[in-house]
Symmetry: C2
Subunit: 435 residues, 2 copies
């Protein structure tokens, strides 16, 4: 049974705080192992990659076969179901269209005293996309991670994917091709992250690494942060569904289960103002679990981490939403816009009764890489901005330097930085006020 | 003597690569100590803060005196030199004006099939600003870290600053007041970072921590990343000056020294196409070093990490600039815009002969918190965006869900995620195509 809370109960605040504080991931301590792997790849390059791939993926490769040949990428689509390929192409098109609108604008202006100011955005030179292997190799994830980089203008887009026992999902390769990935390597784990960060003879280093992975991949990304940029360290997925009693319980139950089936550590929470509706959803979840192929996973997630929270009134919802700061927020209520406007912390908001969260996983357009574990309080979903950086611009002429230079000299002197003061003061002396 | 390189010399590529790879910071291993401090603050709260403050800052505080009283903040400006306060106010005004232009816009549109899409930006709820104590407590740094948060709309802006032996710089408090900081606490080091991340009885936790600090502060920020957001982990400061022979050597020498005086680990590099000019700058640096109050620091930086690189022609500059990816780039050449347009990696670009880098440290307008250690390849200076996050928005009605839902069902099935497919398919069944 999932947790049932009622905001009118005396112990509600304590129980809700415990729900928030609950950990869903084991703190697997892989840091020492990962440090060794990173050091080995840095030292031995390709040789280390081949050694680890033989050991972990039971696959004997050479420096030549590490890379998936261009021909294999080109023919992958032909090995996939045509209707699925068409759906994938629609997804790529919709994701591209949405992300194009995120492209930031440059700025260049002259202020009141004549100083020219601005900034200029440029794409990172090369990005690495980590794709997990086996059952977790999702083509949708390839699109969601690669397309923002492509839209940003990243020239070199490198994908690494482990292929245990040599098996690779053709749909993943087809998605990579569709998304403009320029190089694909059969390597995974911390060793793939090391190759992307430090480079080897075969894999040139990148500037930024994105993509989901297990505890080893996460620890490796945390360690190479600084040498390269990384995206967020993603935790297990979550959905918070806010639904009133006017919804069909089976639809809301399906939404909760679509999150629960990801992972036993996933979390699905329902907030409602109608206790009977909550009961009906709980029942519908149990009914649907019976027929669900991934019922073992979904059931464990729902029992251990699921929650149904009944409120006295929907007005109480906003404060709880912001404290949960959900990765996905579904607002299946009469006035979803009115509620959404008050929400501060949520990775993605799905408005109204006709917008199941799953539509956002595939092809609504916005990115499905979203902040988990309450990090929507301070971070955002993956975007084009993650693959660009900004250079600020300043240009003074002699006159505008005269306008602001003396104040800079004063501040530099107050901070005891005399060379700073001198670099401004000397120029003011060279070009004094015209008489 | 700084390093002298010439791009026409046989060993240039190797020597330049070595310059890039050179480490300027010792890898002080403080991680175990920091882990202990974080755990202690998490467990003991205020008591741990007071204990560490007594030990490291030789200062006996209580939970009541941890916070700098409102009255002390209010009267700080009166204890500062009026001309300096005026300069600080001008800086605050200019920084605010520049950062206001960074505020991102919300997006809300309906696509071709009727799906409503968009995103909404909101400010983080609370931000923590770490300010180093002692001689490194710079009022300009308070403005540069706090004002973007203020402009973003952050409601709670908390500053921590260690006050060794009880000493605090009134200009730092005045800057905090000017920048809209709402709470100031006399605590530093890893213990301050822990308090900001986990909270104590006296210091409520924040959502994001920014600001420079020593190795302990950096290690603590790296460890609490995930619980809260953090800005970059800043390394020692750098400037790359590209200057032709038409510059006055003494001005360029002053610019190089204004970076070198920060820290013995700072780095100043000159790129020129005129070997004689390079010699003249080297001479001018030595001359200016004699009279510089911080000559010991600046001299050590210049001797150990400084470099003068002479090119056959300025056309070679862009490739080297992008490989260095400097924090600060000064372009003291005839056509700075033409050169800047080709540059991809630089935190801030200072255009022309009248724009010393120091003007950007104080009051040009753009932020002086910039990516160091080649991280301009993938990251940007501090901005309003660092204190905001984006929620994506999706809204389907029955009709638009019919347009894109079937493709989502196909993709979910291809990924073996049946509950995902069902959450969409059920809705399509409830609202079939109108006949």
């Amino acid at each position: 049974m999932p947790l049932r809370l009622n905001s009118r109960d005396a112990g509600f605040e304590a129980a809700f705080a415990a729900l928030l504080a609950g950990k869903r991931e084991s703190d697997e301590d892989v840091d020492a192992v990962v440090a060794d792997i990173l050091a080995a790849v840095r030292r031995d390059g390709d040789a280390a990659l081949l050694r680890y791939t033989a050991r972990f993926d039971r696959l004997e490769l050479t420096a030549e076969t590490l890379r998936v040949p261009e021909a294999e990428l080109a023919e992958a689509a032909g090995r996939c179901d045509p209707a699925t390929m068409e759906a994938l192409a629609l997804a790529a098109e919709r994701i591209t269209d949405y992300h194009r609108r995120q492209k930031p604008e440059d700025m260049d202006y002259r202020d009141a005293v004549g100083v020219r100011l601005g900034h200029r955005w440029t794409a990172v030179g090369a990005a690495g996309l980590y794709v997990p292997g086996g059952t977790a190799a999702y083509p949708s994830s390839v699109l969601m991670n690669a397309l923002p980089a492509k839209v940003a203008g990243v020239e070199r887009l490198v994908m690494t994917v482990p292929t245990p026992d040599g098996v690779i999902n053709p749909l993943v390769l087809a998605a990579a091709r569709l998304a403009g990935v320029t190089e694909v390597y059969r390597v995974g784990g911390a060793q793939a992250v090391a190759a992307l960060a430090y480079g080897t003879a075969t894999i040139a280093p990148v500037d930024k690494i994105v993509g989901p992975g297990n505890a080893y991949v996460a620890a490796a990304k945390r360690r190479v942060f600084g040498t390269v940029g990384i995206d967020m360290i993603a935790g297990p997925s979550e959905v918070l569904v806010v639904a009133d009693g006017d919804n069909r319980p089976d639809l809301i139950a399906a939404d909760l289960l679509s999150q629960a089936e990801h992972d036993t550590a996933a979390q699905s929470i329902l907030i409602t103002d109608d206790a009977d509706f909550g009961d009906a959803v709980a029942l519908a979840v149990d009914e649907q679990l019976v027929a669900l192929p991934r019922s073992a996973i979904a059931g464990e997630s729902w029992r251990n981490h699921g929650a149904i929270i009944t409120l006295g009134t929907m007005d109480e919802a906003v404060a709880l939403i912001d404290r949960i700061a959900p990765e996905h927020l579904e607002l299946a209520v009469a006035d979803p816009d009115g509620l959404a406007k008050q929400v501060r912390n949520a990775g993605a908001i799905f408005l109204g009764r006709h917008t199941p969260e799953a539509i956002g996983d595939y092809l609504a357009g916005p990115n499905h890489v979203l902040p988990t574990a309450r990090s929507a309080r301070f971070s955002s979903g993956l975007s084009v901005l993650d693959f660009m950086k900004r250079s600020s611009l300043v240009a003074c002429d002699a006159e505008s330097l005269r306008a602001i230079g003396p104040a800079a000299v004063l501040l530099a002197e107050a901070e005891g930085l005399d060379a700073h003061a001198k670099s401004v003061a000397l120029r003011l002396a060279v070009n004094p006020e015209p008489s």
